[in-house]
Structure formats: C-alpha cells, structure tokens
C-alpha cells in the first residue's frame, strides 16, 4: 500500500536522523570520557597541559583497550543510520541493508563481549596480573542476545533475498 510505504519511509528518515545524532553524541561522549579519565585527574593543570596528557595517554595500550566496547557501539549507531537511510530511500531488503543488519548484530555482540570479558581481561594482562576477568551485567547479556538476534535476522534476510532473486 503506498500510504503505508510512505509512512515507513517517513519514520525511517526520523530514525536515521536520530541514530546519526546518537553516533555524533557517542563520539563526543567518548572523547569527554577519555579526557576526564586521563587529563581530568589533573585539575590543577591548564588546558594545554591537560591536552598534552590526553594525547600522551593515547600511547598507552590501556587507552585503546578501554575504547573497544564504545567503538563497537559507535559502529552500531553508524550502521543503524545507514540501514534507516536505505529504508528511507525505499530499499527492499537489499544486499546493503542485510550487510548493515549483520554489522549491527556483530558489533553489538562484540561490544557486549568487550564490556563483559575483553576489556577487563586485557586490562588485567596489561597490569601484569594475568588471568581472566569477567565484568558481567544484565544489560550486557541483553545487548549480546539482541545482537545475536539481529545477526540471525540478517542471515535469514540474506537467504530470503537469494530465494526471491530466483523468482522471475
């Protein structure tokens, strides 16, 4: 139905704008968070000195280990924005849309794994303590499951697309 399609497309535009905004805010939040946990611990310093500390902290692997999960979640927001963009343009479960869904799903799973296991363990290793550390939370488990569901929807979509392409 044309009215329904129009509504979906209109909604997709709104969601695209929203996810783009979320991605932008996530970048800002990530910079602010990293700045606060590195240079922010020296409030007596002026901004130039704090910026130097911030950039110097980038030389430490701990800086990068700490941003594994946020970067994954940022990729989810970017992929979501692209998927909504495709829907808004009238795409009908295209190859690009399926790839977007797969990216969203896998990045959500990676992000959750990063929060729960990867980041805590790597930090332990970088502090020469060794072993494995888990930082489990209900939210991370749910994010992991939602990520898995999105990934599987993408895979089913891929299979359906192939079948539809074989119908003339």
């Amino acid at each position: 139905m044309p009215t329904e399609t129009f509504d979906i497309r209109k909604q997709a535009y709104t969601w695209q704008a929203l996810s783009t905004m979320v991605a932008f805010l996530l970048i800002l939040y990530l910079i602010r968070d990293r700045f606060q946990s590195t240079a922010g611990i020296f409030p007596q310093m002026d901004l130039v000195q704090q910026l130097s500390v911030f950039f110097l902290s980038m030389l430490s692997p701990i800086f990068w280990v700490n941003i594994i999960a946020p970067v994954c979640y940022l990729s989810v927001a970017i992929a979501a924005s692209q998927v909504f963009g495709r829907i808004a343009k009238g795409d009908d479960f295209s190859e690009a849309m399926i790839k977007g869904l797969n990216d969203m799903g896998s990045n959500l799973m990676f992000g959750a794994c990063g929060t729960m296991f990867l980041t805590p363990t790597l930090i332990e290793w970088l502090n020469f303590r060794g072993g494995f550390k888990f930082h489990t939370s209900t939210e991370s488990f749910i994010i992991f499951i939602v990520g898995g569901a999105l990934y599987f929807i993408g895979q089913i979509g891929k299979k359906m697309r192939q079948e539809i392409d074989e119908i003339v």
């Binding site: 079948e163 074989e166 119908i167 003339v168």
Partner: protein, 79 residues
C-alpha cells in the same frame, strides 16, 4: 520438482525471439534464459500473465507438470 517450462515451444509457434519477449515483459536476458531452462525457483503470476498476453496462450501452454510422487515429500515454505 517436475515442472517443465515449455516456453520455447510456444515461442517457436509464435515465431518470437526470447530476447524480444524478455524486453517486452521486463525481464533481463539472464532471467529469461534461466526461465527457459527451468532454473528458477518460481514464476510470479504477473510474469505468467504478461507472457500469456504477448504469446496469446494459456499458462498450461508454457508450463507442464510431470507426475512425481516424491513431490509430496518436499517441504513447503511457510509450514
């Protein structure tokens, strides 16, 4: 699935080229070739209607079913 596509027979009867028919009904040459060779999973009613309109025939003139008891064992999508 023993559905034979007998489109070639009808094309010959109507003295039409597959390429022209593909163009008229909006299929690519590859799709038309796949259809003629029975290498497609399905044919839309819309496509059948267009073919029948242009070739002035009935669906049974372009498709034929060969009885196979094994058909009942194949899984139908949506079950």
């Amino acid at each position: 699935m023993p559905i034979n596509v007998t489109l070639d027979v009808m094309l010959a009867k109507r003295k039409k080229r597959a390429k022209d028919l593909a163009e008229q009904i909006g299929l690519s040459e590859t799709q038309m070739s796949q259809l003629r060779n029975g290498k497609v999973k399905g044919v839309r009613f819309e496509t059948i209607s267009k073919i029948c309109y242009i070739l002035e025939c009935q669906p049974s003139d372009i498709l034929e079913y060969i009885v196979d008891a094994g058909d009942m064992n194949t899984q139908t999508t949506g079950d």
